[in-house]
Symmetry: D2
Subunit: 139 residues, 4 copies
């Protein structure tokens, strides 16, 4: 854990292909890191079944501010919190750090929908409680 601003942390090692022509991790990769950390939590703690479950999370908005560069080889320490949990949607905030330096800060909004109809459904049960665990009391 890098700091107490985020209730959950996951380490994401970098890959050779993450570096771009300028020798640092490309701006696109940070979104892949966010997606990975968020979905790992949803699957392992929230019971999300990405293969056959009736409810899936669709990204409707994402954003990232880049403060410093980082390069492979290395890893990102990624903090995750929920700053708003609505009936069918959730907004996450993600902090990406390397050696205690903040590299980037992202936001990511999921709307949970029915896999077939792709219409919003209420966030309930295990999924809701897993997201509640990530709340910081600010949302």
């Amino acid at each position: 854990m890098v700091n107490a601003e985020y209730p959950h942390w996951q380490t994401v090692p970098l890959r050779w292909k993450d570096n771009d022509v300028y020798g640092h991790v490309n701006n696109v990769v940070h979104y892949s890191v966010m997606d990975t950390v968020i979905n790992t939590w949803l699957i392992e703690r929230g019971g999300l079944d990405i293969e056959t479950g009736g409810v899936i999370g669709l990204c409707v908005e994402s954003q990232c501010k880049y403060h410093a560069s980082v390069s492979f080889p290395g890893e990102l320490e990624v903090g995750l919190r929920v700053d708003h949990l609505g009936r069918s949607s959730v907004r996450y905030e993600v902090g990406m750090y390397s050696k205690e330096t903040v590299i980037a800060e992202g936001r990511f909004v999921h709307v949970f929908v029915d896999r077939e109809s792709r219409r919003p459904v209420p966030v309930e049960g295990l999924l809701r409680s897993a997201l509640e665990e990530l709340r910081t009391g600010l949302g």
Copy 2:
């Protein structure tokens, strides 16, 4: 050209790997598409030399709103405009369409820096005029 809201258009065909488990283009891919269309313009029209040029563009902020899904096989029609051009930075707006339907709208901010020092430098000459061409008069 899909519409007149963007002065420049480029077609980006999708790839097999763009689809994720849910069968549609993953939210990360839209950022790779933005990066591609912006840099193609900078290289072909703005004289950006990504290999050896003294000035490079670093992404300091990006954002995307997703309105509809799209899947491989297929392609995105991508519109590009500049909504703010400062001394060292530029903010682009990117519209991604499929068959005249807006799929996603992105924002992307470049700061131009010296390749070695990574300190901001003024946007001048060919690079500036290429970016001016993308302005819509709104910025």
Copy 3:
């Protein structure tokens, strides 16, 4: 069409993210290009339904020899042929060219399986005839 060695050709434009630290398209990308061209053919000509069809193609072996480098911005002209078509499997050969220069040559083996059981199934009907069209008489 670059040459007559391949019965089918598709152009694949490069993306910013395809270039790696060394300024050229990373060796991993060529496999993504192969996957894209092969699956485009299977979907558009062979009736492959990647979302809900009962039969899917799994890659069991792939290979690539790299002859020259290529960089974004640019595109690959990709030739596709079938050099062996068995009961349940097919071996493709893929030629990747830039401006008439051969960049890389790949091989890719698909085994067609039942989506649920993942057991091999015979290649029949439209799928088989689409693959037959790509044969060069050498297999």
Copy 4:
């Protein structure tokens, strides 16, 4: 360490984006994993300087056989050995495992070249000794 067939092991966690439409890690990803493990070794043990060093490693051939599928979330245990070390080139063998099951086996050939001229150079010094460490006595 999964077994003694490989002198070096590295764990590579999977990412959300590694899964494709069929719900398992796409065949392209295995090459990115190989590239990552090989270059991590070269940088950390062989003194390879990917940013400014005079010598770089170019992939001239790669290959992979896929034995079983694996999915995010999860990780690959990756074994690395050298089965041939020549004057300017090296051939690696890579075993990718998940929970003691072999998922895929790859081969990857690097030719070391001068960064500017891109002409082959002899593998010497720290780089050579790092590669010697990976030899299994079979090459």
